[in-house]
């Protein structure tokens, strides 16, 4: 029976990629283990091995094809003398094009899998527009969050020789998630430093270097691993300025992906926004868009304080408009109204914005105009922007992927009660990750994360609409 070769996934979050090269031609004999093709995404390149013996009877996707969805048949292997024509045809439904994102590039963008079992957040809505903050006349380019972060580091490293980046696989491997791609080549091994897998130790080394005035960017492969280093982050980085009576500043950025990715289980899915936001002496930043990721990371690197910079693996591949320019910064501690509205305020941050924005679109269809606020910084929290919105809408839904108890949304709710109780027409509602360790099973993982429907329902509830 003919066997289809399917487009493989390079990572749990990969949805499509480029078929870079065929290493075998139609008619070639292959055996299990032979490398038959190369595929790549903006993150990585990988070889495709044959898992069966036979003849590569048919190539279904030509080399050079972009945006080939995972699991699309790309070729057919037959046994000697077998007819390949039966295979490939019915299954070879071409990958759907990715949804239109403003200025969509040929990147690993949000894929049309919202209905699939994979707990992916909805795609970037068309209505997201960050341009109000862009400097007039700035050239606008489309780039992924991943590229924006890389550019932010590269620009700041060019600007200041005291800035360096250290972490696991940041240099020769080009970054576990390719965020540091190309930095080693430009800045060399002294400023782009591969560390052993010893978070506690290298976080401490980074903090020690920062106490002398250097400006380290310490990358954690994920913030889950920063648990090994949290003593140095909190007891050393956050507290030393105070304990030294203002003598010992610690200009350091701890950055890396945080929160759930896809199907990586409880130990790789924790959202630490609430943890770090509990600590005086830290600033905690959690951007959603590429322009904010870039502008905020640049601000973080220039900031004289320890910064927790929480990224998200799923957002790395999303594309956004970004103004070009080395000195375009986004201030830490300033929220942004990303969609104006009058009926209810939806406040979120990081990947939570995907639910908030999609819910706002859905609500608009039902005649509810939601004002959507991206906090961008968790600490210090710009609650004033939220309060100003509530004074207009009188209702609020706070959204995060983190756990409910003592979560960021719990803090938002309390701050609103303290400052704007009389402005509320309904209790503040929250939509959070469920109060369980992240499950692995696709269906359970999806249930454990917030979804657009929950945000819509919460918004309707605070509007007293069925």
């Amino acid at each position: 029976m003919p066997i289809e070769i399917l487009m493989p996934a390079l990572s749990p979050t990969m949805e499509q990629g480029k078929l870079a090269k065929w290493l075998k031609a139609e008619g070639d004999r292959v055996k299990a283990g032979d490398i038959i093709a190369e595929i790549e995404t903006d993150k990585a390149t990988m070889e495709v091995e044959a898992i069966d013996e036979g003849i590569l009877a048919k190539i279904l996707i030509a080399e050079g094809a972009e945006n080939v969805a995972v699991n699309t048949p790309i070729g057919v292997i037959t046994a000697e003398g077998e007819d390949a024509s039966a295979a490939g045809k019915p299954a070879a439904k071409p990958a759907e094009p990715p949804p239109a994102v403003a200025g969509e590039g040929p990147k690993e963008a949000a894929a049309p899998k919202a209905e699939s079992a994979v707990a992916n957040p909805p795609a970037t809505p068309k209505s997201y527009d960050a341009s109000s903050e862009f400097p007039a006349g700035a050239e606008i380019v489309t780039m992924t969050v991943r590229e924006a972060l890389r550019d932010a580091m590269a620009e700041e490293m060019r600007r200041d020789g005291d800035v360096f980046v250290m972490g696991e696989e940041v240099a020769e491997y080009q970054g576990a998630y390719k965020v540091t791609q190309g930095l080693l080549q430009e800045f060399g091994p002294k400023r782009v430093i591969d560390t052993p897998i010893t978070e506690h130790g290298f976080a401490g080394i980074g903090v020690g270097a920062a106490l002398t005035g250097l400006k380290p960017i310490v990358e954690f492969m994920t913030f889950n691993f920063a648990m090994q280093a949290i003593d140095q982050i909190i007891n050393s980085a956050a507290k030393t300025l105070y304990m030294s009576g203002g003598q010992m500043g610690c200009p350091i950025v701890f950055r890396g992906p945080n929160g759930a990715a896809a199907r990586v289980g409880a130990q790789h899915s924790h959202d630490y926004a609430a943890w770090y936001s509990n600590v005086p002496g830290l600033k905690v930043v959690m951007p959603y868009s590429a322009s904010d990721a870039k502008g905020l990371l640049k601000s973080a690197i220039r900031d004289p304080n320890p910064i927790i910079f929480l990224e998200n693996e799923i957002l790395y591949g999303r594309s956004f408009d970004v103004p070009k320019g080395d000195d375009i910064l986004v201030p830490i501690g300033k929220a942004k109204v990303v969609r104006p509205g009058t009926d209810v305020t939806i406040v979120s941050f990081g990947i939570g914005m995907t639910y908030a924005l999609a819910a706002a679109e859905a609500l608009a269809k039902e005649g509810i105009e939601a004002e959507v606020i991206d906090l961008r910084t968790i600490r210090p929290m710009d609650i004033e922007t939220v309060i100003a919105s509530i004074q207009k809408t009188h209702r609020c839904v706070a959204v995060e992927e983190g756990f409910p108890q003592s979560g960021v949304t719990a803090e938002i709710g309390m701050k609103i009660m303290e400052a704007a109780f009389d402005w509320l027409d309904a209790p503040v509602a929250r939509v959070t990750g469920k109060d369980v360790p992240m499950p692995y099973a696709a269906n359970l993982e999806k249930l454990a994360l917030p979804n657009v429907g929950e945000v819509v329902a919460a918004a309707k509830a605070v509007c007293y609409r069925a």
Binding site: T195, G201, G208, A209, N235, N305
Partner: protein, 364 residues
């Protein structure tokens, strides 16, 4: 030698012999194969002996005063005294250069004084007053001086080792020829991050000297009850970091070993481990009655191996320094300490507005 006495019946030679055997980069070959005794210990000039005497005495008297003030309720919280260990930090400082950094744990008063920090500022921090080095916000365990390159004062056991490697990293990054000295105890030596730091320090050849102050007890747990490998100089063996056991009660032995270690680090050869065999006379902290060891053990250390008495003896015997001169030094030291105590007693507490300062620096 003193500390080795606990482990062997031939105390006078063990530590020194080890030091000789391991010091591959030691200057000169005079000691080679020889069993070091006090008589062939590297000699100090009279000026050096006087310097060491005065500096160690300052720490001793300062700590005695701090103990008294704790008893009077002027110092709160935790207070860990350095009495007995003075030769370690003074010998190290005598081998270091301007610009070299010092970082240590919570038993830190001696290190601060050795780095040249003012007695008044240290004592006022102990009493939680505005004139303290951290304006009263750090306390006994948390003081710093950027001017004197003293990087604390850390309360988490072992954290200063990674931080100290980070200071060494900064020196390596800047190529400024400085060396970082990271002090920690026999207790901290069992922490995981110590070995993460050893690994990276050697991997990147960072200029850092790891100074293990083995005072035999991690709080109340003796070394033999907590450590599978009680020869701390060997704790870097698997990373290829050279190490020496040093008689930490003899300031001359400390300085000699420190010179080798610092030279090694400063010339790009990477980190070096010095196990200082020392002893604390007092409890772990003021609230520790030290029931885990005999009075006799403490008494014997004080009588036979006291670091200050050793120098005092040589000053009178070998350098013919008279009692009057030594008394004058003692009086001068007491004056400094009394002045510090007076200042720290009457200096006001920090202004209440200080509660909310120094949390974050202003963004430029």
């Amino acid at each position: 030698m003193a500390v080795a006495a606990r482990k062997t019946k031939a105390p006078a030679t063990k530590a020194a012999a080890k030091a000789t055997g391991k010091s591959g980069s030691a200057k000169g070959g005079a000691d080679k194969g020889a069993v070091k005794t006090l008589s062939n210990m590297p000699n100090f000039s009279k000026a050096e002996e006087l310097h060491a005497y005065r500096e160690m005495l300052l720490i001793r008297r300062f700590e005695e005063k701090a103990g008294q003030m704790y008893g009077m309720g002027l110092i709160g919280g935790f207070c860990h005294l350095y009495i007995g260990q003075e030769a370690v930090v003074i010998g190290m400082q005598m081998a270091s250069k301007e610009g070299d950094q010092t970082i240590t744990g919570y038993r830190d008063h001696g290190h601060m004084l050795a780095c040249g920090m003012e007695s008044r500022g240290v004592m006022a921090e102990l009493t939680g007053r505005q004139g303290g080095y951290s304006r009263g916000k750090g306390g006994s365990m948390h003081m710093f001086s950027r001017e004197k390159n003293f990087y604390g004062g850390h309360g988490i056991v072992g954290a200063q080792v990674s931080l100290g490697a980070g200071l060494g990293f900064a020196n390596w990054y800047r190529e400024d020829g400085r060396v970082s000295m990271a002090y920690f105890g026999d207790g901290a030596a069992n922490q995981g991050q110590v070995y993460e730091s050893f690994n990276m320090a050697q991997l990147w050849k960072l200029p850092v000297v790891f100074v293990i102050e083995n005072n035999r007890y991690a709080m109340g747990t003796s070394v033999s009850r907590a450590s599978a490998q009680t020869d701390f100089s060997r704790r870097g063996v698997s990373f290829g970091i050279p190490g020496e056991q040093v008689d930490g009660m003899d300031v001359r032995a400390v300085r000699a070993a420190a010179e080798r270690a610092i030279e090694h680090a400063r010339t790009g050869k990477g980190p070096y481990i010095l196990e200082m065999q020392t002893y604390r006379y007092r409890g772990h902290s003021m609230s520790d009655p030290a029931k885990y060891r005999s009075k006799d053990e403490v008494q014997r250390m004080r009588e036979e191996h006291d670091p200050i008495e050793q120098v005092r003896g040589r000053l009178t015997r070998e350098h013919k320094v008279g009692e009057d001169e030594l008394k004058a030094i003692d009086a001068k030291v007491r004056e400094i300490v009394n002045d510090a105590a007076e200042f720290a007693t009457h200096d006001p507490e920090p202004d209440v507005s200080e509660l909310f300062t120094d949390i974050l620096l202003e963004t430029a």
